[in-house]
């Protein structure tokens, strides 16, 4: 672990997060008119980014490791189904993660 790089990463992430949260105050502090392209991106971008991030979480999945593939994909499907059913964020994450831990530690088959 490179301490300087770790610190730099944290500072960059901090500044960029602050920028996104301060964005409306910087741009629209004195006016209420939002450019249509900005509101369009604000509407569309998050959905695309979240789907891409789900793929990012599953990036290690490959056909060379069928066990990992099965564990990850089945737990994603189960988490999604539980969430679509109960709409309870904590429940879905707890059940999905718990099940995945049991599967990957070989406790469940």
């Amino acid at each position: 672990m490179d301490i300087k790089h770790t610190l730099a990463v944290i500072v960059v992430a901090m500044l960029c997060t602050i920028f996104t949260r301060a964005f409306p105050f910087i741009l629209f502090g004195n006016q209420r008119h939002i450019p249509p392209s900005v509101s369009y991106l604000g509407e569309m971008l998050p959905k695309a980014v979240m789907a891409a991030l789900l793929v990012y979480c599953l990036r290690q999945v490959s056909f060379d490791a069928p066990r990992l593939l099965f564990n990850q994909l089945s737990c994603v499907v189960i988490t999604a189904l539980i969430h679509a059913w109960k709409c309870n964020t904590l429940l879905s994450i707890a059940v999905g993660t718990g099940l995945y831990m049991l599967l990957s530690q070989g406790i469940l088959g």
Binding site: R21, P24, I34
Partner: protein
């Protein structure tokens, strides 16, 4: 003052449950990635962005470049760009605390502000908002710290805890899917990511995937907006998501 603190605490209880729980998962995850609990503390105090912090652990361990970190953070947090709009006038009159209000405007805190009816005097309301922001971050920091310390103190096998992040994004995607009838941008994100993963491999695909998403969304703005209007008129609005991180 005491009454307002109590009111702020009662209002933030649901956030407390979520933040402590997910904070613990974050703490365990970063500890397991080989980082001292001080790093967990530093990130939760300085960055304070739920889902982005999970992504950050991945970026740190894979030694991502600062440009990748910057663009990823901007895109992951792009939804925050609109939260402040509703509070420009309120925050403007809050003096120095306005900086903290902007810094700490997470999904959950924003949702709380939106659901808090204007009660009491203007001053009391602002104090209440500030206390809710501080309490929310303190839950998040406590959870992260607890998770990191638990990971260091206990030697139980936590193999697979990293799936908490996958589960979190699965939940966010499901909520977005249920809340919208127009799934094109979600599918576009999925497709860009999968193609980019196949082309660039697991350690370098995120940035090209995000850039492709943004570019394609801008290029396809006219047809996408037309389709969006078409879908809106066809169907009734979907469910609104309860919480996202």
């Amino acid at each position: 003052m005491k009454g307002i603190l109590k009111q702020a605490f009662l209002k933030t209880i649901p956030v407390m449950v979520g933040y402590v729980f997910i904070g613990i998962a974050f703490g365990l995850l970063i500890q397991r990635a080989g980082y001292h609990w001080l790093w967990a503390l530093a990130i939760s105090v300085l960055v304070y962005a739920g889902s982005m912090q999970f992504v950050l652990v991945g970026l740190l361990t894979q030694g991502a470049s600062l440009v990748t970190v910057a663009i990823t953070t901007l895109m992951v947090n792009s939804r925050h760009m609109f939260y402040g709009l509703s509070f420009i006038d309120t925050f403007k009159t809050m003096g120095k605390t306005a900086w903290y209000m902007v810094f700490s405007l997470t999904d959950e805190t924003y949702a709380l502000f939106c659901s808090t009816a204007p009660v009491g005097t203007d001053r009391e309301r602002k104090r209440l908002m500030l206390l809710m922001s501080v309490l929310d971050q303190s839950y998040w920091v406590s959870g992260s710290l607890l998770g990191a310390l638990l990971g260091e103190a206990l030697s139980f096998d936590i193999t697979g805890i990293d799936f908490a992040m996958t589960a979190l994004f699965t939940v966010i995607c499901v909520e977005q899917w249920l809340a919208n009838h127009n799934h094109i941008s979600a599918l576009l994100g999925l497709l860009c990511a999968i193609i980019s993963l196949l082309v660039f491999g697991p350690s370098a695909f995120l940035l090209p995937a995000l850039v492709a998403c943004g570019t394609l969304l801008m290029l396809g703005r006219r047809p996408l907006q037309a389709y969006d209007r078409y879908v809106q008129t066809k169907k009734t609005p979907g469910k609104t998501p309860k919480e996202t991180l």
